[in-house]
Point group: C2
Chain length 298, copies 2
Amino acid sequence: MSQKIIQRLCVIGVGLIGGSLARGLKKAGVVTEVVGAGRNVAHLEKAKELGVIDSFETDISQAVKGCDMVVLAVPLGAMQSVFEQISSVITEEMIITDVGSAKASVVKAAQQAFKSLPDTLVPGHPIAGTEKSGVEASFAELFDNRRIILTPLETSSSEAVSKVRKMWQACGADVVETSIEHHDEVLAATSHLPHMLAYSLVDTLAKMDEKKEIFDFAAGGFRDFTRIASSDPEMWHDICISNKDALVTMIKKFTDDLELLAKAIEANDSVYLKEIFSRAKKARDEFCEDKNINDSPE
Amino acid sequence: MSQKIIQRLCVIGVGLIGGSLARGLKKAGVVTEVVGAGRNVAHLEKAKELGVIDSFETDISQAVKGCDMVVLAVPLGAMQSVFEQISSVITEEMIITDVGSAKASVVKAAQQAFKSLPDTLVPGHPIAGTEKSGVEASFAELFDNRRIILTPLETSSSEAVSKVRKMWQACGADVVETSIEHHDEVLAATSHLPHMLAYSLVDTLAKMDEKKEIFDFAAGGFRDFTRIASSDPEMWHDICISNKDALVTMIKKFTDDLELLAKAIEANDSVYLKEIFSRAKKARDEFCEDKNINDSPE
């Protein structure tokens, strides 16, 4: 029988991520009890029906009571409000973590809510997801072999970090630690910038007179390239606002490089063009080799 | 028994596209004989061995002799040289078409080689391909249900257009006609621009200090978004040079829009952000519905 890592877990926001975490921990047998919290009773009832949570509360400050682990799996824009709701009831035994895609903003929200940061707070970010959302889409294996980035604070106790780490590892995840600033820069580069480019490209094309033919003539490469433009607009609004500085810096860096590329095309600069395309192809092929991915362009 | 559309076909450049065309026509039973032409004897021998072609010639002007259909399936940068090699041997019975991804440059190459454009010339572009290249990767069904864009010239005879159309239709393709200018603009938008963005993004990230972590932390969305950056650098060099004007115009249009997006992020302009993301998601989802594609972001 597995040893329990968590006695009473509170998942605030029982959607795809929160639900999959609860399922994963239950499957691993490392949690005794899961309490769901959120605003939508129908969603919470569904989660209970599915066995993802054992009970639920719509009053978040009630839900966290007696919990030794609290996971905020709510949109970035809702973090501060949740921190405020739990600020008066947190205890020294209650480890608090989150799953937000931008970390500085979460820490700022915590600072504003808690005044002084509790040593039980360990921000985190699972690099995982699927095309679906909601608890119905959650599954125990979502974090299996996926990367979880923890960004412990100076105030975070080693016990708290260790417990959050063990929680994710019990779901099969590969847990790494980095600084908040570094996390936000790297995610701006690998995730937030590509989403902006995909959204912006699709919008630019959709505004053109030739819109119909443009989408009509588009092939598989376009489909893959723009897949992320079908992501949830509300979530990406929150991410933009939350990781503004790092994201705007990356957009500018990208735009500067793209301008150089446009100039090389205008100047028929074959050497520059072949170099950049070869370099990018090599980097991308190596990325796939490292990740053991077998795929190539159409 | 199928009626023959082509008696003697010459495929110049027997790679993925040229090879698949030959296979498709043979499978449909609409071609009597296929002659392969190219510079690489080993490749041509392989093509013969595979039954893709019946015979081959490395002297292109010899290869086309007696052919009623000649297809240039060579890189854009090689078009003019091929036109020059066949210019002295073309006849009124010899229909000539190509598969280049940019059409104005092919017509310019033909103009320079032929002086006056033959009425047998009908430029074309199959919107099809796979991740592989070379005759070994060719298959008869590559053009099945794929779009072929013909850009007939003012000089093109209706008989020539009709024969090229029938050739592609015999491979299961959906043949449409448009103007050269329109083709080049639309392809710049749907294919050439996205490739530039993917190449440029990967190169920008690969140059960063955090390169290792950046690729390490990248997830499925990044993989899909950058797939086209693994495309053939030589081919994309040729496309950039060949469709320079339309492509540079599109890059500028895109950059202007991206700058507005960056400004909205900087200004916390929630209305703008939600609008653009929602509009793009809607356009992208509609594109998938139209194409009957069931996919979404990770």
